[in-house]
Amino acid sequence: MPPSSIQPSTTQPGRYPQTGIVGYHAYLPGYRLERSEIAAAVGSSARGVRCVAGYDEDSTTLGVAAALPAVRGRETAVGSVWFATTDPVYADKTNATAIHAALDLQPGIIAADLGASLRSGIVGLLLAARDGGLAVLADRRGGPAGGTDEREGADAAVAFLFGEVDPLARIICTASVTAEFIDRWRAPGAPDGATWEERFGEQRYTELADQLLTRLSEARAELGDVRRFAVAGSNARAVRSVASIVQKATGARLEGAGLADAIGNAGAAQPGLALADLLDAAMAGETLLLISLADGADALILRATEAIAASRGEPLRAQFDRGVTIGYPQYLLWRERLAAERPRRPDPDRPSAPFAWRNRRYKLSMTGGRCGKCGAVQFPLPRVCYQCHAADDFEPVPASGQTGRIATFTVDRLAFSPSPPLVSAIVAFTRGGRLQCELTDVRRPIRVGDEVVPTFRRGATVGGIRNYIWKARPVYPTTPAAAGQPGAAGRPDAEPES
């Protein structure tokens, strides 16, 4: 994007007629927790499930999982990275840089975090819309044990790449209003937040929605053209009331009303999930409106282009049923709300910062090298080829984006793992190269020859340093019946394959 296309005005609704969404992807982690199990812990009852991240997923890895498919093949076109989460791994240190590294993006762009507020999600979208950037919205939401936030939260991520080349939806208009009041709050770093009486926030947000619609009308945003809209926010009453106001004002179809019921509310990622759901449903030429309610109200109006049908990836709703149900104790262990028994083995060492920096292309973007002389692919990038012994003649080859097959494997009940046992395999990649890596999201007994894909995950955290590693995840058929089968090579909740 040339700088001239950036609209710096903060008083007028923004218009970016050249820019649009060129790619997007929503990622739901593979675990589900029955809300009734959570509620039962405090003698209450609840319906449905919430989406839960694996023990080796955090906001950064969730973000990478969403961003990889959104940018694949367009890495050099990414103009910036804006990362939104209420559950950052690090303070002081930027988290977006790990996403930037995992995606192997150009060094000459900015990658930044947007604080830890719920509003950061829509802000990431608005910022990326301004500069042809990548908005990565990822969150893990929880709350006091047994309570509403824990039941109704969700872990999920979504990424949108903006640009000018063949957008699948063009930006028509954006608008924001801001207000200071106490509806939902949390101390920095604290796991549990709190809310004021919901009706107070509901009243504030309905006022703000009215102001927002007025501003959009003043900007001649042609609200009457809106065919589909979605509202996201953490105050469920406010979301319902504002949806009703917008419906009356526009006559458009409300999308995603059941999103939070189906998988939970993913905090800062929720406006992104709502937008992905809108785009999943949109037809070419339709005008779409997204409203986010967080310490104000923000709107994004888009128009789907002819490219939308061809540019869509896997729809968000296709992932709803693709989860393995875990028990509440498992959730509490994974969330480190309970401390598990430690194995009688030494704790892992703190990763060396200089070593990790030298090895960053392998460690963070899983890049190896193809020997210029004999063609053998090897990870990480070596000095000397194992096959022909030629030195320093390698072309970088990423394993990410490829599939691999398991040559042999083991389930290690002795090694340290935050969620024992540690399952590892020798994986041979389609485009050459083989390496030993840890497996994750294993749902059934592994067999030699099984197909896997690389996935970016967290290893152990030592001394506050989070060790990011690439693992491999088995590829399972996407039919819900087959995918929902529980049981794994050795997971504590494993059941033998029936």
């Binding site: 060396s352 392998y362 194992y386 040559a407 083991t410 590892s424 030993q436």
Partner: protein
């Protein structure tokens, strides 16, 4: 440039070996002192008669001072060597080379290890500072990779391969039960082996070698001087070491059904010793049965079995103590225990006893063949070092 055989130029004139056990009451230093004293007494020598010392220890000491201090060696060259599970054998290799090249007349190799002071389960290997990218698998997990790969390649039904693994553990425990210096002196039923708690892959606790403390020592001289010290020296027929380049995981040609380093090392050792049919020429073999599938695969890599047939040979009792080629008649790592730095010399100690007819209740009937093999493996499938020695009771 070539590697040359030192065959019959150097001989072992005395050995010592402590019991391998959970020696909670003794330090690595004390164990070394005991093994050295036994070796010196056997040859009628004192420490002053030894010209140079090599100490093999994996995790229980740093530098030659780890031996010089407990023995109060004054003015002697003492060197610590390390090469994973081949560490004890490396000490012998260095001592043999020193004698063979004429630098010294009498040299001693000592291996010692104290593993039971950590309080942890299994073997704890020293870690080199890295970036945490390597998969943090345990040793049993690494060796368990052999099992699905072997079953897949040779179409062996899992229950048959399981039975072969069980037979290895059962045989080695039966042998160890007859050995007063073994860690586990108890025969174990096949049922209890198969019922043992899972550790990694198809391996249960009873598929794993014993984590132990212990020490062993050997004194070597030139072959022509050996009879000054003993009427029955053991002659070094072959010493071979192959250090892998670690490419197994990367190389799609490597299929986890073999240790190419062992195949290469065996070829070199047999050439040095002039062995063409090891299964019939060897009186016994002491091999690195760190885990039960390792011993099965080693039978093929060492040329004792056809490819894909070792599991059947094992079940047929070919490698039992009264079989065609007794393997690990002292109980092996499995039941004698595996104090890493001492294990290579412990294997040679068993050859020392067997070829000289001193193995008592577990004496093999094949001793008159006069040749024995020891083999160590350090690391993991696809990423290992291998040491092989061939020892003989008769000079050339």
């Amino acid at each position: 440039m070539a590697q040359h055989s030192l065959s019959d130029r150097v001989a072992i004139i005395s050995m010592g070996c402590t019991r391998f056990a959970e020696h909670f009451d003794r330090s690595a230093d004390e164990l070394a002192v005991d093994a050295v004293a036994e070796a010196l007494d056997g040859a009628g020598l004192t420490r002053d008669d030894i010209d140079a010392f090599w100490l093999g220890t994996y995790v229980s000491g740093i530098s030659g001072m780890a031996l010089a201090r407990p023995l109060r060696l004054v003015g002697k060259p003492v060197t610590r060597v390390e090469n994973m599970c081949a560490t004890g054998s490396e000490a012998l290799r260095a001592a043999v080379y020193a004698v063979a090249c004429g630098a010294v007349d009498v040299a001693m190799a000592v291996g010692t290890e104290k593993l039971k002071d950590t309080g942890y389960a299994g073997l704890i290997s020293p870690k080199i500072q890295d970036d945490g990218t390597r998969v943090n698998t345990s040793a049993p997990a690494n060796f368990s990779l052999l099992v699905p790969a072997y079953q897949e390649r040779y179409g062996v039904a899992p229950d048959l391969f399981r039975a072969a693994m069980t037979h290895v553990a059962w045989k080695n425990h039966a042998n160890g039960a007859l050995n007063p210096r073994a860690q586990f002196r108890r025969a174990v039923s096949k049922e209890s082996i198969e019922r043992s708690p899972a550790v990694a892959g198809e391996l249960g606790v009873m598929d794993c070698s014993g984590v132990a403390d212990g020490a062993a020592a050997a004194i070597v001289t030139r072959a022509e001087d050996a009879r000054k010290y003993t009427g029955t020296p053991l002659y070094i027929k072959a010493l071979a070491l192959v250090t892998g380049d670690g490419s197994g995981a990367a190389d799609p040609q490597y299929d986890y059904t073999s240790f190419p380093e062992v195949v290469d090392c065996a070829r070199r050792a047999y050439a040095q010793a002039g062995i063409t049919d090891p299964r019939r020429e060897l009186a016994l073999a002491e091999v690195h049965d760190c885990f039960t599938p390792t011993e099965i695969v080693l039978m093929e890599d060492l040329g004792f079995a056809e490819r894909g047939h070792a599991w059947r040979d094992v079940l047929d009792g070919v490698y039992d103590r009264d079989g065609e080629l007794p393997v690990n008649p002292d109980g092996g790592l499995k039941s004698f225990g595996h104090p890493v730095g001492a294990s290579g010399l412990r294997m040679i100690y068993e050859c020392w006893l067997q070829l000289r007819g001193q193995a008592g209740a577990r004496q093999v009937a094949t001793a008159n063949r006069g040749l024995a093999l020891t083999q160590n493996l350090g690391g993991a499938p696809g990423d290992c070092v291998c040491f092989i020695s061939v020892l003989g009771s008769k000079p050339a």
